[in-house]
């Protein structure tokens, strides 16, 4: 594979999305069946709950070359497992803080709450997040590219 530089107009960001099975994944499905357009940069991984997302999944995704990571789950109070997303909130906001402290732009990591009926919101989140990552350019700190 050839190295892609920031100035390359061909460059498209790679975004990994961890979506919860019950709300956000269904929300993404609704966006699809409603024929809403959103950027194809996001690669979706289905997890059973946003609380399942371990901080090391996020760091591993960055290490393997993701430019942005999106974690999406049910709105607080709507979790299929009652409280999974409250646990996720604690863990993931602290992960954002740690990334910032280590000198990695915390804007590359985003948490969002999208319910099963919010296909429109899901499309909007992906559009907004992709634009944000495009602005930041390729991520090369955690991949080891910046030595």
């Amino acid at each position: 594979m050839t190295e892609i530089s920031k100035t390359d107009s061909e460059w498209e960001p790679k975004i990994i999305g961890f979506l919860c099975n019950w709300c956000s994944y269904t929300g993404a499905d609704l966006a699809g069946t409603s024929r809403l357009q959103y950027p194809p940069n996001i690669r979706i991984i289905k997890v059973m709950c946003s609380g399942r997302v371990n901080p090391q999944f996020i760091l591993k995704a960055f290490q393997e070359g993701a430019d942005g990571v999106l974690v999406s789950g049910c709105h607080p109070g709507d979790c299929h497992y009652i409280e999974g997303n409250y646990h996720a909130k604690r863990k993931l906001t602290l992960t954002t803080d740690l990334m910032e402290f280590m000198g990695v732009d915390p804007k590359r990591f985003q948490v969002s709450w999208v319910s099963a009926s919010e296909g429109k919101k899901f499309a909007e989140v992906v559009i907004k997040f992709t634009a944000q990552i495009k602005e930041l350019g390729p991520q090369n700190k955690l991949t080891g590219g910046d030595v």
Partner: protein, 337 residues
């Protein structure tokens, strides 16, 4: 003024009493070794061995690590579960570890008998080595410390003595110590009525004020030194998983064994996250690091953020809820879309 000989005598008599009455199976304490600069851990199983126990400002290591090892032992099939208690000598910082272990149900309260020593500061081994460079190497093993009451240590060695200001030897963690009295203890040795001193996190604030790229360069410089000996993990009393994620190879390895910046960063970030809201800043990881990486700064940053964001402060009260085992509906999350 700290009378180390008096402390030592009290520790010995308490250990002797517990061992003779059979209340504890053994006592974990410190002993003075002939070849090491600082005191080393000792396990006293028999009341006649209590004279081995030692106390001084060179009792640095966090002995709760061995307490966890003992609590992890499982009986063989068909045998009764273990119920024996273990005696342990702790400094105020180590007592916070015990609080955290009790909170996480790793150590049942009734299985640990705590001799808490109210001590003001412990020393940094590197600083000690620099201070006693004039003492011939063969005579360093048996050095003893005396507090002269004027913030100086009188270091006694075979054939002479040396006066060193306490401040010169003080470990960094002791400068931000929140309490000089053990937070949990069965027997208190020494006295301290000083109130809790809130930690201001000056070192962390200094890093937070840097720009993002400055911080990245700072960590890049330090983390590329890491040789991944895992000493920081092995010495941590709160890293007690049966199988560590970094040792796991099946079905796949999360972290490659090679020493590269990307693997080192991953290791240190994940290790810090595993201790977020649990670390009590005992400073052992920093002390054992052979490459001088300021690991404590990452841990202290997460202590600070856990306190600010989730109102969790580790190692103070056994009644508190563990950081990741609980949640609060009002946890802040403004950055969530």
């Amino acid at each position: 003024m700290m009378d180390f000989q008096d402390f030592e005598a009290k520790i010995k008599s308490q250990a002797k009493q517990w061992l003779e009455s059979g209340e504890v199976k053994f006592v974990i304490g410190y002993e003075k070794s002939h070849d090491s600069l600082i005191a080393r851990p000792v396990f006293i199983h028999d009341a006649k061995d209590v004279d081995k126990l030692y106390w001084g400002p060179d009792c640095i290591s966090n002995l709760t690590l061995y307490l966890v090892d003992e609590m992890k032992k499982k009986p063989k099939r068909g045998e009764e579960p273990f119920t024996h208690a273990v005696g342990i000598v702790v400094k105020p910082c180590d007592s916070k570890t015990i609080v955290e272990l009790i909170k996480e149900n790793m150590v049942p309260r009734e299985r640990v008998k705590i001799i808490g020593v109210a001590t003001e500061n412990s020393i940094n081994p590197d600083k000690l080595e620099a201070a006693i460079k004039d003492i011939p190497p063969g005579k360093r093993g048996g050095i003893r410390f005396i507090d002269d009451g004027n913030k100086n240590y009188i270091i006694k060695y075979d054939g002479g003595e040396l006066k060193v200001p306490q401040e010169e030897l003080e470990a960094d963690k002791c400068k931000v110590c929140i309490t000089h009295k053990p937070v949990i203890h069965d027997i208190l040795v020494g006295e301290s009525n000083e109130p809790f001193v809130p930690d201001e996190f000056e070192d962390v604030k200094k890093l937070e004020e840097m720009t993002e790229d400055q911080r990245w360069n700072y960590w890049k410089e330090h983390l590329s030194k890491c040789v991944r000996c895992y000493a920081c993990r092995d010495v941590c009393p709160l890293c007690y998983c049966e199988e560590c994620v970094f040792d796991k190879e099946k079905p796949f390895s999360w972290n490659e064994k090679s020493v590269q910046l990307r693997e080192n960063t991953f290791y240190h970030m994940v290790r810090a996250m595993h201790l977020a809201g649990r670390c009590v800043d005992c400073g052992e990881c920093d002390r054992v690091c052979p490459m001088g990486i300021p690991i404590r700064e990452i841990n202290r940053f997460l202590i600070k953020r856990a306190k600010e964001r989730c109102k969790v402060f580790s190692g103070i009260n056994v009644e508190d809820k563990p950081m990741f085992g609980s949640y609060d509906i009002d946890d802040p999350g403004e950055e969530i879309w």
